[in-house]
Symmetry: D2
Subunit: 345 residues, 4 copies
């Protein structure tokens, strides 16, 4: 068995890793790190884990973690950039679920408002979107796992961008997410009575996934991409949908041609499902699974294209994708432990 | 007292009219028309109405309705176009909450897939958006009450369109609505287990409010407006938000200039509230009230503008606005019976 | 106009008082007290209040408050017991929405874990359930407004208790409440991702409304009442339902006899609605209104009775009832400002 | 591999069987029967199934089904009683998820209002609650899978009943369920706008799980059990909680003694988790899993006991338990395919 450690073990990202790895055929968790809850047992904090036995949470100890095979950082931005490098040098595979290695230095410092990771590791980190980067991930030691909105938006835009089917200055991304994306720390913005029966824009003009999306669009195209993006909180726990709109470079293209092109692009990528003509994705169709579902519509009047891309923000948008990446890095089957049918209803 | 009749009395729009008119100081309901529930009492069908006494539902009878002062059609498309004309000729004021008089003949027939109302009444009908049309509504006998998405989108776009601050071919409208907008008839799309914890696009490319928005934008501008619009079902009962994106004609304009311009435009219009800098609207801030709240953000990177426009789809998006229009038509104070503070939380 | 002050003006109870009093024909708010937000304006904290103008929040100042006619304490337990007495001595009417005057000294100290109010005021305080106490409230200077569960349970049990139709040791109360009952302070228990799609018992054996219910049952009967009560959090914002079960003293009584008896008991009490045979109440039927809806079923097999009692926890369960009490104390019509039809849907 | 057929393949129970069996190591689905959708593919009706390939739905054909090893009836009451007998005679194992074999003849006819199954099969059917009946299920050919409320209530009461710790005439069961329990057919009662933000009692005095619970309590005790039970719809999709109250036979017993006794009773039963002292179960702690979580509290004042029993109505309350039963009948490990950690949050 491959041994895994999880750092930041009390957040939603880590809980999802624990849920998924419990039945992974080749990876087992040997170390759960939580600075704030050292010595406690996961089932004491989380009654849903009753009956599942793990070692108690430990503090972050390099000597212990360097002996495992792969470490997942399910921490807020600012932790992995400091703690991951030594592990990588010690030969441990690292998957970072935070934003620490996703952006170039100046962008990170602008959008995250803190000092960036060392250049060496920014360069070494491979962006963990297997549909873009599978080959490189199979050689990577450090994986920078994408943001939830970035995964949805990139998967919805990449085939169009890669084929120059849309104009680089015409893209609008309207993102909608459930509340689990905001994490486990209570706040007025996540208080049930304030968010239930409510839809509201948030972080307008400031969401840190914007530069991430632009960066990786530019890796797939020679054009300069600047997107207009807004994010909204939706009264549901899990689920994320990006509705994206763009001007076609060739206005004669039809919905059917788009669907064909997307299916061709994602052939061999098991977690992207392109919906058939006139069937739109919905967040509930991917709940609890690692799928990203994409639906496409070319408007007959405007000739613009609309692409809808849905995923579970804790799965393909975070922990599911982290395991997909670890599978690739460790030479395992990409789908290992990730083939759950969505929970429905 | 002014006497009112309501046709289509068992739907959500009618129930909201009943709730609001109960305490209207100058209008009282004297006739509730329901073909399918003739003879029944409203409180027998709707336990929330227990203790409120009305005449039983009657069938549609011209002889009775021609004696009231104002009739509200809270019916599906296709009823008012046939039944309203005789009432208008008999001197009754009519407010139609359906789409029967909102579009020109050919657009109606394309988007509603049925024969349009007689030309004479299409011409006579005044579009019931008081912030656009107040003077005309004060003279009108037939009011075509706007669609819920159209109200939100138009209020969010009109000041920009009227001042030529955005490019006519650059507008994207991403609409999000609670489920009450889908009415009272059960269906798979409105079944709790299918819609709860779910966000999904619907009627993509086909929503009948699209031509309605374009028509009234064109009344406020000499340009040709073609908008890109998508609508989404959100797991909440009431509330509607349009997030709108456009290219500025002058990229140097700031968020503050936009806010000032919008405040100037809506001065003297009591139901539009322009949010201050960096404060975004949310559907919960207008719940149960007749307000439309608007927030604006000019993106520093793209120079495009984002406008967010929130309302309660059954209030400013339907029945609240219908009463606002009736007040104007009947020479009453515009805000009569409509000054409720939003329900919070 | 009668002048009112509200202490604790930033909580949900106070916001509901503000919403209701805005259109009260005889009471106007002249003072909003908030220690923690002194100097701020209510609309700056609460965007739903945009456009409604009030004096900024002030700190608690006796000299100011003694000049108003009535003060509402919408504060946590522990404030009114200290601050209300001087106001009462100064001739100000006081309605306390907290639990400070609801229990006898020893019960208060046991269940609230703090020192009780002075005996003199515990004795003077009139319990603000008008359906039990209307005459006394019309003479009262200090009103102890009931708890939300206590209101629902007492209204559901009083006719049976008063007529000795149920056995005193046989009562089970299963309470279910929306999250707004837990107030505005964020916590893990009220975090959207934890409470949405979740039903959970809380404060089992410890809810402070238990001794309150028993105390006022005993005022209506010579028997000793000890109830079994549990409370549950339900994923909704507003609404409270008590499902109550008891053994009948005379097992031959029918559902119809119960309904008749309850209707007789509540004749002349405008805010209690007894549902007809086989129609059960639901929290949505009272949303945003001051009604308490009651449905009754005698089980043909067990001969036990089930009583279901629904209200809006912020209305009849808190602020609506507080205004009902103030109306009585001030010699106004009991229903003044409170006749809203429930919001539906 | 063991071959399975599912009859009634388009309902929520069948979809959950499909989800679970997809990764069952020993059972594979070879036949999906749906009379109303013959010839269609499951992924065409259910987009969440995109990418999972099954034979198209077939009509019910005895010749085909008699060749599989086990057939699950996920049909409404009234189907299995007619169609299962021939399969059993043909040597096929049958698990019926409907109520057709749960009650004795007269009770079935009273509560289900239709003719009962043939006596021979009512007698042969083994009640599929493994915690009560494991040995018999290992020998059974026909399993009558319990109702969702019955599973929760019985698991919460059996240890007390079996040990005579509560009085037989003192039990109150207050049941709360999410909407998926009401199935997939749209109706006013399951329409989002009516049920969201709503808690309502339903089927009061008429729920067909009442006689089922009593029947199996009586198999575990010599006493005559008559329970008082109410059921409520809660605005969530999945999840069921029974809150149960009873008078202790020995009032000196403590919460700790109860917890010990329950842990002893369920030793060796992997899907029942008894919560520690003062920790209550919640429906979210079992979501998507086959667990039933139980918490117990002895009230210090009333000396009565409260037992809270939570499960996922589609898992341990239906399809999860059906697979648990099939595992036992087929000689497999009881937990096979069912060890998922609950989805959280």
């Amino acid at each position: 068995m491959i041994h895994a450690g999880i750092v930041g073990s009390t957040g939603y990202g880590a809980l999802e890793l624990v849920r998924l790895l419990q039945f992974h055929p080749h990876i087992e968790i040997t170390s759960l790190v939580s600075q704030s809850h050292e010595g406690e047992h996961i089932a004491d904090m989380y009654p849903h884990m009753n009956g599942f036995t793990f070692e108690p949470f430990s503090s972050f100890q390099f000597e212990t973690l360097k002996t495992v095979d792969v470490v997942f950082f399910a921490t807020p931005a600012g932790i992995a950039k400091n703690d991951a490098p030594a592990l990588i040098k010690a030969g441990v595979y690292v998957v970072d679920l935070s934003g620490d290695f996703r952006l170039q230095k100046s962008d990170y410092e602008n959008w995250y408002q803190q000092t960036a990771a060392a250049d060496e590791f920014l360069t070494e980190a491979e962006y963990g979107l297997p549909e873009l980067n599978r080959d490189k991930l199979q050689e990577a030691a450090l994986c920078s796992n994408p943001g939830c909105f970035a995964t949805s938006a990139l998967l919805g835009l990449l085939p169009a961008v890669n084929n120059s089917w849309i104009n680089p200055d015409s893209v609008t991304v309207d993102g909608k997410t459930g509340l689990s994306g905001a994490g486990r720390t209570p706040s007025a913005k996540t208080h049930f009575s304030e968010t239930n029966e409510n839809t509201m824009p948030y972080k307008i003009g400031k969401h840190q996934h914007i530069p991430e999306i632009e960066r990786y669009l530019m890796q797939s195209s020679e054009a300069e991409w600047t997107i207009q993006m807004s994010t909204h909180l939706i009264p549901m726990t899990r689920g994320l949908l990006c509705s994206m709109y763009a001007v076609q470079t060739d206005k004669s293209r039809t919905t059917e041609e788009w669907i064909d092109k997307y299916r061709e692009f994602y052939r061999g990528h098991p977690f992207v499902r392109i919906h058939p003509y006139e069937q739109m994705p919905a967040t509930k169709f991917v709940l609890g699974s690692n799928y990203c579902d994409i639906g496409i519509h070319v408007d007959q009047r405007t000739k613009r294209v609309a692409v809808f891309s849905a995923l579970d923000n804790l799965m393909k948008g975070a922990s599911g994708q982290a395991i997909q990446n670890a599978n690739l890095m460790l030479g395992l089957e990409e789908t290992c432990g990730l083939q759950q049918i969505p929970i429905y209803p």
